[in-house]
Symmetry: C2
Subunit: 191 residues, 2 copies
Amino acid sequence: MSESTTRDHIVEAADKLFYEQGYEHTSFTHIADAVRISRGNFYYHFKSKDEILDAVINERLANTRSALEQWEAENSKPADRIRCFIQIMINNRDKIKLYGCPVGTLSTELTKLNHASKAGANELFSLYRTWLCRQFMLLGRKADADQLAMHLLARSQGVATLASAFHDEAFIRQEVRILCDWLAGLKEKNS
Amino acid sequence: MSESTTRDHIVEAADKLFYEQGYEHTSFTHIADAVRISRGNFYYHFKSKDEILDAVINERLANTRSALEQWEAENSKPADRIRCFIQIMINNRDKIKLYGCPVGTLSTELTKLNHASKAGANELFSLYRTWLCRQFMLLGRKADADQLAMHLLARSQGVATLASAFHDEAFIRQEVRILCDWLAGLKEKNS
DNA sequence: GTCTATATAATGATAGAC
DNA sequence: GTCTATCATTATATAGAC
């Protein structure tokens, strides 16, 4: 059983706010209001706002690794595993519609800020990329596995961006269907 | 002949900085340094920073309308016109690699800020959407023209996001090739 | 039209009481 | 561990001289 410490609450609230409002726009006051602590108390747990960001990124990295492992453990066929990835757009459609993809939007923001932690944020992309690449290899696409992984990542990013701009949930479902067909077409070519 | 006024210089510098650094992170000091004027002088030309943003968005809208008209005037075939749209990823690859897509990243930022001008930023997406939709109709895809327009927009957004995260120019060229093949495949189906 | 000087509010961060 | 009080800095914005 894991104790829920104040530090955990801070990271959890910051994670949510960074996603919904962006990193730079989220102030200590915002997080303090959410966690119900004073602004001064942050500096007992973290040295700076950047350190909170790093904690959030590390938390997301851990959660992502865990999710990827689970998809792999629960599905023996690589195509089913890849479908798990595609399916998250459906599962998270409500938040995607409002805030886009948490991976892509944080990466974009930190890249523009030229922030020291942008590499850490992009590591989230790399986790998915490497994992998808491995699944495409298992699917018999050894030669272009990484290209397919990047292609699928890009497709999902585009869906999130447009769904958020137009607040269009039907568009997500539509594109997920197209992506599943695309995946099925790949399978047939290499089975 | 158009006179280049101080106001124009401000909008031009702000346009560039908003793209490279983001809207919120760009301060009057940044713009003032670029235009070589004092901070106080801004308020002769604009009432607020938000008003500069609106001017930037209107400038981008005008430039986009003009580019779309030109693509239409210079190409009689709808497929060639759509290829012009796809081609901008190649033409702007250097900046995309560094800062992503100016349309998508501004839309994403203003959406997260819940900024009053987010609708204006999304109107940029709508310009492309409507124009692409018309081209797909001319291509004989009357039934799913808007769906194809959204699909192509999303594909290009995803390419820009990933190219920026990984600073990968080859990826842009690769995806542009795939998109051109996709477009050619559509043509054959409906010619 | 452009400047300097300044007002005002918010930010990240620190010091020290409890 | 959490608080209040405060500092230093930066931000947008205003007033008024030139």
